[in-house]
Symmetry: C2
Subunit: 219 residues, 2 copies
DNA sequence: TAGATTGTTAATCGATTAACAATC
DNA sequence: TAGATTGTTAATCGATTAACAATC
């Protein structure tokens, strides 16, 4: 099984597979077929088999996939079999929420450093982390070997934070601010701006079932 | 311009267009070409033109698009030219964060009702909203004509909340819980589980630049 | 008129799905 | 052996991009 170029669509499905598999595992289900996964996730079973086959032969013909084994394999693929440390900038409500979320995660991703340049935030605690000024970013990133950063500052500060992330060598950024960020192409940006999601939901509210219609948006 | 079936990919780009356009508008830029938008968004200009052309002829040959006019048109398409009211269930940290976010939004999407069944949450205030028990959900949804719901409860409660949303006629759900929800197919689900995003970021950390490699994940 | 840029058709590219031999 | 299900190739489908006539 040679590692071909894996499409983004495939990579985005892997965490979803991991999620159902974790659920199955917690229900002590030991084996699952692509068929069953497909039903659960509304995906074509062939697609699931193909996605997994990019990375190796994880199943058994006539049987299906061993749940725990497949979890391990996907963790390896996503490189979350060891704990991944994450830095977060912006100790507001959202930053707080993500840090908490964090505590319950069994995904081996941990926010291990929090930054904010607001004087009234610096030195406060979120769980067992002390909020630090941005001047400490570089040191922490180097010391802890942090490679992923989360942005939860207001939109107008987001690009600035992104620049600092890039400057200290962060390789992947999860951006919650409603802003379009420019970063060098070797740095990966994932946008998690929830207003975008809400807006596309709004579209379907009114257009659902209109597929066969020929109405248009006119003045 | 007939309304063909619009692909999800197109719908997901519309809010992004709206975002850049809002930014351009705030910088008092009046006209923009698909070329310029393409540079800003890392998209092919032809794609942008095609996306917009599904809904009408909004540009002027030789000139480009009028920023304000295009904003209006996209708002119409997304049906956010009038304010859209949203219900939120789960008054924890994340729920709080989203309600605040809310205040700054110029997107005409407003969280106008917050629910939580925890006794110590009921009756507390988030901004100017009082947290209500779930028993009030139906009444509020009917009274305010709410059609979109946000789920910010823990994973194990998420399906239950989704069921209640469906029962009271909610048409679109934005789910922040790390759970796979089953709803009737006429109800739209958008997942905003940030651990998924983090996991796919993690993939690229270690595989970036491996496109041409032939390494594989072996035992 | 010359230059720019749209809307749209045709060409290309890539992703999803169907089908099936291999095999548990 | 019969039934189930994988991994994978081939067929299909859909989305992106290129190209260009129309026109500002």
């Amino acid at each position: 099984m040679k590692q071909a170029k894996i499409s983004e669509a495939v990579v985005r499905r892997l965490p979803i597979y991991l999620q159902v598999l974790n659920e199955l595992h917690s229900r002590e289900i030991q084996t699952v077929s692509s068929q069953e996964l497909g039903v659960k996730l509304d995906l074509n079973p062939a697609q699931i088999r193909k996605d997994l086959a990019y990375f190796g032969e994880f199943g058994r013909k006539g049987i299906g996939y061993d749940v725990m084994y497949l979890i391990e394999k996907i963790r390896q693929i996503l490189k979350v079999n060891q704990t991944i440390k994450v830095a977060l900038v912006g100790a507001g409500n959202l930053g707080h929420a993500l840090c908490n979320y964090n505590k319950y995660s069994k995904d081996n991703m941990k926010i291990t450093a929090v930054f904010d340049d607001h004087p009234d935030k610096i030195g406060t605690r979120i769980n067992n982390l002390v909020v630090q000024p941005m001047s400490e970013l570089e040191r922490e990133v180097k010391e802890q070997n942090i490679r992923i950063g989360i942005i939860t500052v207001p939109a107008h500060e987001a690009q600035n934070v992104a620049n600092q992330f890039v400057a200290v060598g962060i390789e992947g950024i999860l951006n919650f601010a409603p802003a379009i960020l420019r970063v060098p192409e070797e740095v990966r940006i994932q946008n998690a701006d929830f207003t975008r999601e809400l807006l596309s939901l709004a579209y379907y509210l009114n257009h659902e079932g209109e597929e066969t219609s020929d109405e248009s948006v006119m003045d």
